[in-house]
Symmetry: D2
Subunit: 119 residues, 4 copies
């Protein structure tokens, strides 16, 4: 059975070693990392900004490859930020999904678009 | 040994079921999901915007708890987006880290802040 | 004839007085203001994230009113940031539009969507 | 006396003509423009992400010049978005500043950093 905690841990530790070897911990303040995360999320979004929704659903292969690299950047900064704040990201995701399952019961939420929150 | 692929898969599948049960797949176009991801990243960042770096490094417990929930939202939208585009997020993260290890060799990058990319 | 320079100046001065009276200059570092600007831009965008493009073109009146307030926040932080950095925003806008008119000549750019930059 | 309304109008009309001549109105849906606005705000912010606040307060001249161009992009997309939605940006800014002056009375707000909203 997959162990989400340990898997996130492996990436988190590899990132910490990467930063330590380069003496980049000095830049990895949560304020800076939150900015870097938002910048990477915007770079990912930029690929879709002039596309119609139907184009975005089937992007060309080279766009998909670039989006994959931006998605990786988002994940890496997110893991680094959580590490610096002592946040267990896998546990937080479990917790948030359980909250959403309670907040949006199937019978009430079905097909409605009135809420901003969609996860 | 932890299997990162399978762990991300478990969360991805739980999210897909969550959306399907609520008939929310119709809203989960990559364009919309990229917007939602950027919005959540900004909400996370908002917690740090008026803090000094040293305050951000040691936020109060209630702020840390709120940041954990925002971090979860970022991860969940990111996983959903990757699922919709057929992107293997764990493989993309491995790939990006390997690229960065090559791009920023330890002996050259040590302690330098001249580059934007810090992971 | 309207004088863009003087009009921006009037708003800029009113904002400076607003911050000075409240002793908020201490928070108005360019780094913090750039974060606040990005947060407000995301809050504006949030209103459109689950809309189809055709819905976004004709939003309900109450959404339009909320977007107007978010747009004001974006402008106010942008002016404050420029003031703190000694940037003449009206001159920068004139300069950028002239650059774009040169970069995208009418006969070549007509109807093409291949470029990200659309202004 | 400067007339904010007329000055914003002049820029707005120049932008509308720019888009019309290039047949780019088709891309200027409010949803797309809100995305472009958020992307430009992130690009502006990126210049400050690894700086200390004291470095951000006195950036090198070449950084200041690049920030000026990003600030112009933010303003141009903001004006274009408001034009498409029939929002009077100058009136909205006046309105929002009056709301903030009422919401944060000088005697109560002085020097306090507890609120997110700082304008």
């Amino acid at each position: 059975m997959p162990d989400t905690h340990d898997s996130f841990s492996a990436l988190r530790e590899r990132l910490a070693r990467f930063a330590e070897e380069r003496d980049w911990d000095q830049f990895h303040n949560p304020k800076n990392l939150a900015m870097a995360l938002a910048v990477e999320a915007a770079e990912l979004m930029e690929h879709f900004q002039w596309m119609l929704p139907e184009e975005a659903a089937q992007p060309p292969a080279h766009v998909r490859d670039e989006v994959a690299l931006e998605a990786a950047d988002v994940l890496l900064y997110l893991l680094r930020l959580c590490d610096k704040l002592g946040i267990d990201l896998a546990a937080a995701a479990d917790n948030k999904l359980a909250l959403n399952e309670h907040k949006y019961p199937v019978e009430k939420a079905r097909g409605r678009s009135t809420k901003y929150d969609k996860l």
